[in-house]
Amino acid sequence: MAEDGATAPAPGFWRQALRIAAKDLAIEWRSREVLATMTFLAVVVVLIFSFAFVIEGTRPPAPVVAGIMWVALVVAGTVGLARAFDRERDGEAIRSLLLTPAPRPAIYLGKLAATVALMAITEIVLTALAGVLFSASLGAVIGRVALLLVLGTIGFAAAGCTFSAALLRARGRDALLATLLYPIIVPIVIAGARGTTQLIDPIAPDFDGARFWTQFLFALDVLFVTAGLWAFEPIVSGD
């Protein structure tokens, strides 16, 4: 039976996760299908709110800018998450993936990493646009805002990837995903928007308050990623 396909010991957990993430990003780099849609939606949301809230010559209040950024992030992210497992569903590639020795949690982390990477690219555009349109004071606090965004994205994508996998074969999964996901991610959006507000307040930025929300987001990330790692196996193996 021996052929040229001699196998070495199965690659380690993190290498498997990285390969799955790299596969998703390579496919997306080629098609730019999901990234283009996410970025387009984020830009449209920001533009619509800017027309509604920005009065010429004035700067909108910090809570409004923060709210717009996080709403745009959630809308764009939902589109990305709805497509997260599409390529696994088409042609039943998920079955081939599940038959490999890659641990289920590594598959989950690979999908999560790719989703976070795509959302991060959208966030760069989103943050730049918000800075220009709302004259937001981002320069001095960009690092802290970026940390909030990344932590919020990880928690959001962790919960979203879990639900997206659960809805892999469901009809009307796009609508179901939003219905299931949004109540769960309310704490993330509140923490992200409050933290961002405190950071970009042009008069009195509250760094201590922002630090609290950053830590809160980190705790939510630990919770959602742990739950995702634990739930992914029974979800994808469900029979």
């Binding site: 039976m1 040229d4 396909g5 196998t7 390529r87 042609g91 039943e92 079955r95 081939s96």
Partner: protein, 247 residues
């Protein structure tokens, strides 16, 4: 060579219940290496469920599957020794044939994934042009060839086929029959689930399921042939027709 490579696959009173509906009941049989076993049966007989259990993707509700000394359960690490060819190709349409094979070879820990991909593409008759084309541009026959190459990427000891001949033209069906024979010669355990009695003619063990139960299980070294398969199938799955013919 892995310790399961030359071991038979033994099913002992395997059952599966989905939400109160029985899909399989007390299925006991043995699939030997170097033999093609065809699992036949009408719609709803439990063929695909059986294949799901053998592939470790579905857990049995009762009984057990042993591969050599090891128990084959859902998520078992022995899945790394299984190759699966379904009626869906199990491939990423946006990746090229080479990229698909390289990806899966890497996930299985194959020592030289690119060389393995090239060798497999040559083996299944997909030329250089096809190798660099996205899988979504492939015809049904080409997809099935690529699916077989993907299933062989890690040199599995157990090969499972679920309706592999569905939608294949006669040339493709002939090619598939030759490949099945080649896998038998290679000493793998080959289990083929199909509706197509002609595709099952190459088998040297036929298991017929009806309403989740084994109603026929016989091995004939050297192969059944299409007439013998058809006769066994008709006898075991169409009792009413049989009675009418007798009358």
């Amino acid at each position: 060579m892995n310790h399961v490579d030359a071991a038979p696959l033994r099913l002992s009173k395997v059952g599966k219940i989905y939400g109160g509906r029985r899909a399989l009941a007390e299925v006991s049989t043995t699939f030997e290496p170097g033999r093609i076993a065809a699992v036949l049966g009408p719609n709803g007989a439990g063929k695909s469920t059986l294949l799901g259990i053998l592939s470790t993707l579905i857990a049995p509700s009762a009984g057990e599957v042993r591969w050599g000394e090891d128990r084959l359960g859902r998520g078992s690490l022995l899945r790394a020794r299984i190759g699966y060819v379904g009626h869906d190709p199990g491939l990423y349409g946006d990746l090229t044939a080479t990229e698909n094979l390289t990806l899966f070879a890497r996930l299985y820990g194959v020592a030289d994934p690119r060389a393995r991909a090239a060798a497999l593409l040559a083996r299944v008759g997909l030329g250089e042009a096809a190798a660099e084309a996205p899988a979504r541009t492939f015809s049904r026959g080409m997809l099935q060839r690529l699916a077989l190459a993907r299933a062989l990427a890690h040199d599995p000891a157990l090969l499972l086929f679920d309706e592999p001949a569905a939608a294949l033209d006669p040339t493709g069906a002939d090619w598939l029959a030759r490949e099945l024979s080649a896998e038998r010669e290679a000493g793998r355990v080959v289990v083929l689930v199909t509706h197509d009695l002609a595709a099952a003619a190459v088998a040297d063990q036929v298991v017929i399921l009806r309403r989740g139960r084994v109603v026929f299980d016989e091995a004939r070294p050297g192969g059944f042939g299409v007439e013998a398969v058809r006769a066994s199938y008709d006898t075991r799955t169409r009792p009413a027709a049989r009675e009418a013919n007798r009358g």
